[in-house]
Amino acid sequence: MITLYIALPLAVVLLLNLSPRRTANALSLWCGLVLTVFAGAYTLAMPHVPGLADAFDPANRVLQWKIEAGNLAGVMFLSIALVVFSAFWVGRYLIADSNRRFIFNNLLLLCMTGMNGIVLSNDLFTLYVFLEVVAASSFILIALERTNAGLEGAFKYVLLSAVATVLVLSSMALIFVLVGSLDYGTVKAVLTSGQLDAATSRFVTFAIGLFVVGLFIKGGMVPFHGWLPDAYSSAPTASSVLLGGIVTKAAGVFTLIQLAQNVFGWDKPSPVLLAVGTLSIAVGAFAALGQRNFKRMLAYSSISQIGYIIIGLGAANEVAVVGAILHLFNHSTFKTLLFVNSAAVEKQAGTVDMDKLGGLANKMPVTGFTSVLAMLSTAGVPPLSGFWSKLLIVLGVWLSGAHAVAVTAILLSVVTLAYFLSMQRRVFFGRLAPGLEGVKEAGGWLLVPEIVLAVITLGLGLTMPWFFNTFLVPLRSLWSL
C-alpha cells in the first residue's frame, strides 16, 4: 500500500489538470490539504495497522512495485506531510494570482511525490530519478515569481545541482561497474562483505566520496552551500517554507542517512562528516549573525542546524543517530514555523528587512509568540523539542570520542541563541518601527500552520521522555550497530 505515497499525489495532479480550470483552481488547495492530512494520518497508523507498510501485492505482476519503506520512512513521511501542509496554507495566503497558485499547488504535490519517492526507493537509480524530480520542481518553485533575484537564485541552484548530479551519476556508474547492481541490499552485501581487493575497494571509496559530496551539495553543507542562501531568500516565501522546511533534508540529509545505513554500511565515526558538519554549524551560525534579511538569516540558520544532523550521523553511534533523526524532524517543524512567521511578517509589514522592522510582537501576538517558541527550540533551550535532539546529538558525539566537536557544537549553540535573540529584538520586540502602526495579525490562513507547528514543537518537547521510550528507543535497534 505504500505505493499510495507516490501514486496518490500524482493521480491528484493529473485529475486536477484534466478537470475544468475554474474548478481545478478552487479544488487544488483543498485536494492538497486533504492529501497531506491523509498522508500524515496514514503514516501515524502505519505501525499499528498491518499491511499499511507493505508494497502492493508482490505476487501480482501488475501491482508489483520495487519500493520499500525503510525504518526512517515514517519520520520522513510525517515531516514531508507536515511541511507541505504548511506550504499549502502559506501559498493560499501569499500568492494572489489564482492561476499561479494553481501551478504552485501542483508543483508542491509533484515535489511531495518526489520526496516520497526518495524515501521509498531501494535502488540507487530510482533514488537518482526522484532526486532530480525534487530538484527540478524546486528550481521552478524558486523562480515562480520570475523576479530577477528569483531567477538568479534558481540558476545558482541549477548550476550546483547539476554538479551534484554529475557526481552522483559518476559514483553510481562506478558502483554499478564494481558491484553489478544498484539495489541497496545487493550493494551493501558486496561492500560490507570484506572480500574486495585493495584496488577495487579504493575505487569504491572514491565512488562513495563522490556520492557523499553530491549529497552535501543537495543538503547545502558548507562549503557546498553557495546556492542555498540565495535560493531561499530570493524564492517566494511560500516556496521558502517548502525548501527550508524539507527539501534539503529529504534530498541531502535523509538520503545520506539512508545510504550510510542501508548501502555503505558505515559503522564507525567519520571524520569527514564530523568536519563538514562542524564547519557548517560554525559558518552558518556566524553568517546568520550578520544578516539583515529575515529569510536570509533563516537560510543560514538552516545550514547551521543541518550541520548538527550531520555530526550526529558522523558520530555513528545509536544515541547520536537517533538524535540526528529527531533533529531532522524537529528542524523541519521549527524551521517551517519560522518561515511561516516570516511570511506573516512579509505580508503584514511589507518587508523582511530587519532594519525596517521592530516591535511587532504587540501587533502580531500569535506570530510573535510562536516565533519565540521556534527560536528557543532551535537554540536548544529546554524543555522544547530542539533541546532534546541537540542533547542526544552532543551526547552521542561525545561518546564517539570526538570531544572537540561536541564542545564546539555546544558553544556554537550559544551563537544560535545570539542571532535569534538579535532577530527577535529587531523584528518582534523593541520599539515599534515607524510606518508599522497599522500592522495587524496575519489572517487565519497563516495562523493554522503557525499554531499546529508551535503545538508540535512544544508538545514534543514536553512529552519527550515518553516519546523517547516509545518511538526513539525502538528506532535505535534498527540502526544496525
Binding site: 505482476r61 512495485w65 519517492g117 530510482t126 532530480e132 561497474v177 564494481l178
Partner: protein, 175 residues
C-alpha cells in the same frame, strides 16, 4: 588497426574538446552545434562499447531533439546586435580564465585514476542481463518510469511558469 581502447580514448578526447567549445563559444548557435557534436561523439562511444539502444537514445534525443529545440528557441530571440570584435575577444579571455581550473582538475583526476587503475569487472551484456528491454523498462524499472512521468509534468509546469506568461505579455505588447 586501432584497438577498441584507443578508439574510445580518441572519441572521449574529442568529446571533451567539443564540450569545451560549447562552453567557450560566444555565439549561441555555435555553442548549440558543439553540444550536438559532443552528443554524437558520446553516442558513437556508447555504441562501440556495446550498448546500441543507449546510443540510439543519445543520438536521437540529445543530438537531435534538444538541438532542434535550442535552435528554434535561438531563432525566436533577437540577435545581440553588432558587438565589436575586441569586446568578444575580451569576453572570451574572461571566460577562459574562469574555466582554467577545469582542465587542471580533469588532468588531476586522470592521473589519479591512472595511478589507481584497476581491472574493472567489465562484462558483456548478454549473460548479465537476460531480460529484454521491455521487461527492464516496465518491470524492473517501473518506479523510475513513474518518476520520469513526474519529471515530465514538472517540466510542463516549468514551461508554463517561465514562458507562457512571457509569451502572453509579448502578444499584449504587440497589440
Amino acid at each position: 588497426m586501432l584497438s577498441l581502447g584507443t578508439i574510445l580514448l580518441i572519441l572521449l578526447v574529442l568529446m571533451v574538446l567539443s564540450a569545451l567549445w560549447a562552453v567557450m563559444a560566444t555565439d549561441l548557435l555555435r555553442s548549440t552545434i558543439a553540444l550536438a557534436l559532443t552528443s554524437v561523439f558520446l553516442a558513437i562511444a556508447i555504441y562501440m562499447m556495446g550498448a546500441p539502444l543507449a546510443a540510439v537514445f543519445e543520438l536521437s534525443v540529445c543530438a537531435g531533439l534538444i538541438t532542434v529545440v535550442f535552435i528554434s528557441a535561438i531563432s525566436m530571440i533577437k540577435p545581440e546586435g553588432n558587438t565589436r570584435k575586441e569586446d568578444l575577444a575580451r569576453k572570451r579571455r574572461k571566460r577562459l580564465k574562469k574555466y582554467i581550473p577545469l582542465p587542471i582538475l580533469l588532468a588531476v583526476a586522470g592521473v589519479l585514476l591512472w595511478l589507481n587503475r584497476v581491472d574493472l569487472p567489465f562484462t558483456p551484456d548478454a549473460d548479465v542481463f537476460p531480460l529484454t528491454l521491455s521487461e527492464i523498462m516496465w518491470d524492473v524499472r517501473r518506479v523510475d518510469i513513474a518518476g520520469q512521468a513526474v519529471m515530465i509534468l514538472v517540466g510542463v509546469f516549468g514551461i508554463v511558469v517561465l514562458f507562457k506568461e512571457f509569451v502572453r505579455r509579448g502578444k499584449g505588447g504587440e497589440e
